[in-house]
Amino acid sequence: MDDDALISRARAGDLDAFNLLVERYQGLVFNVCLRMLSDRAAAEDAAQEAFISAYRVLGRFRGGSFRAWLLRIAANLCYDEMRRWRRRPLPLEAAADLAAPAAQSPESALMRGELAGHLQRGLASLPADQRLALVLRDVQGLAYEEIAQAMACSLGTVKSRIARGRARLRDYLKAQGLLPSGAALALEEE
C-alpha cells in the first residue's frame, strides 16, 4: 500500500496504518537523527518523538513527499536537542563510539569503524544546516528537490548548503589523510 492510502487511513484514526508508515521510515529517521546528534540515545528519543508528533499533526500534512515532511519534523527535534546541548556540555565523545556494527571480516570492520568515527566527527564539525543537507544527500541519497522540502528552504539554499558543507568536509578528510588530493584522484582514473 502506498503512503497516501496509509496516511488517509491513519487520519481516520487507524493506528495500525500509521504504524506501517513508522515501520517503513523508522530506519531513515533514526539514522538521520543519529548523524545529526552523534548520540544513539538522543537519536532514539528524537526518532520516537518525531513519530509521535507526526501522528498528532498528521492533519496538517498537505501532500507532497511524506518522507520529506517526516524528516522535517525529525530535523526540527534534532535542532531543539542541539539547542538544549548548547546550555549543557556536549557529548562530543559519543561520536567516537559510533563505529560500524560487526562486518564480515574483522579487518574491514576495524577499517570501516575508524572511518565511520572520522566521518561522524567531520560531520559534527559542520554547522547544523550544512550537516543536515549533506546527510540527506550523501548518506541517505535524497534528491535536492526533496531535501528542499525536508529543510523548508529553496533549491538554491540546498545547493549552497551542500556545496559549503561538502567543501568543509573535504578539507577535514584531507587534513586527516583520508582523502587523496584531486590531482592524484585524476591520475588514478587515467
Binding site: 530506519g27 533514526f30 548523524r35 498528532r56 535536492y144 545547493k159 556545496a163 561538502r166
Partner: protein, 220 residues
Amino acid sequence: MALAWLQHLLSHRHLSAYADGELASGLRRRVEGHLARCARCRAEVEELQATARTLSLLPQEAPPRSFALGPDQVAAPARRPPPALALRGLQAATVAFSVLLVALVAWDVAGPATSEQAAAPAGSQSAPAAAPREAPEGAGAALAATPTPAPTRPDMGLAGPQATPTPADRRRQTEEAPAAEAGEETGRSLLRIAQVAAGVAAGLAAGAWAVLAIRSRRGS
C-alpha cells in the same frame, strides 16, 4: 584573462551540484565548457565526488527498537482539544477586558475637559463670531449629542479647552457647576464601577488562563 577568471568564479560555486548531476542543462553545459579548460576545477570535482563517495560509506544502522506507537502514546491528543479551546477563549477574554479597561480609563481622562466645555458655553455672547468646535477625541456619544458652539476669543490664536476663560466665563461656570456636578458625579461613579469590573474580569481571565496553561504543559 579577466573573462576566464569570471568564468572560473561563476562555475566554481556550482561544482558540487554538477558532481551530483543536479544542474539544469544550460548551466551544466556552461560548467562543462569551463571544466574542459580548467584543471583546478576538474581536480576539485574529483575531490568533491570522492568526499561524497566516502560519506556514503557511513553504515545505515538498525534502529535499536521499533518506534511503532502504542495506544497510550496517541491517547494524549484526544484530551488536548478542550483545554486548547478553553485556553484560546480565556486569552481572548483577557484581551477583550483589557481593551475595555483601557477604553474606560481613556474616556475618564478625556471626560473632564468635555464636561467643562459642555457646561460653559450657555452665555457665549461675548464671542459672536463663535465657530462650532470639534469635540475632543474620546468624547462619548452622549456628549456629542448636544452640539454647542464654544466660545472662541477672536484675539487669541489658541482655540480649545485650554484657552483661558474670561472672568465672566468663570463666574458663569461656578454658578452652573452644582447642577452639572450632580449628574457628573453619578456618571463618574458608574464609570469607576465599570473600570473596576473590567479590571477584575481581565485579572480573573488572565489568572485562569495562566493556571490552565501551566497545567496543560505539565500534563503533556
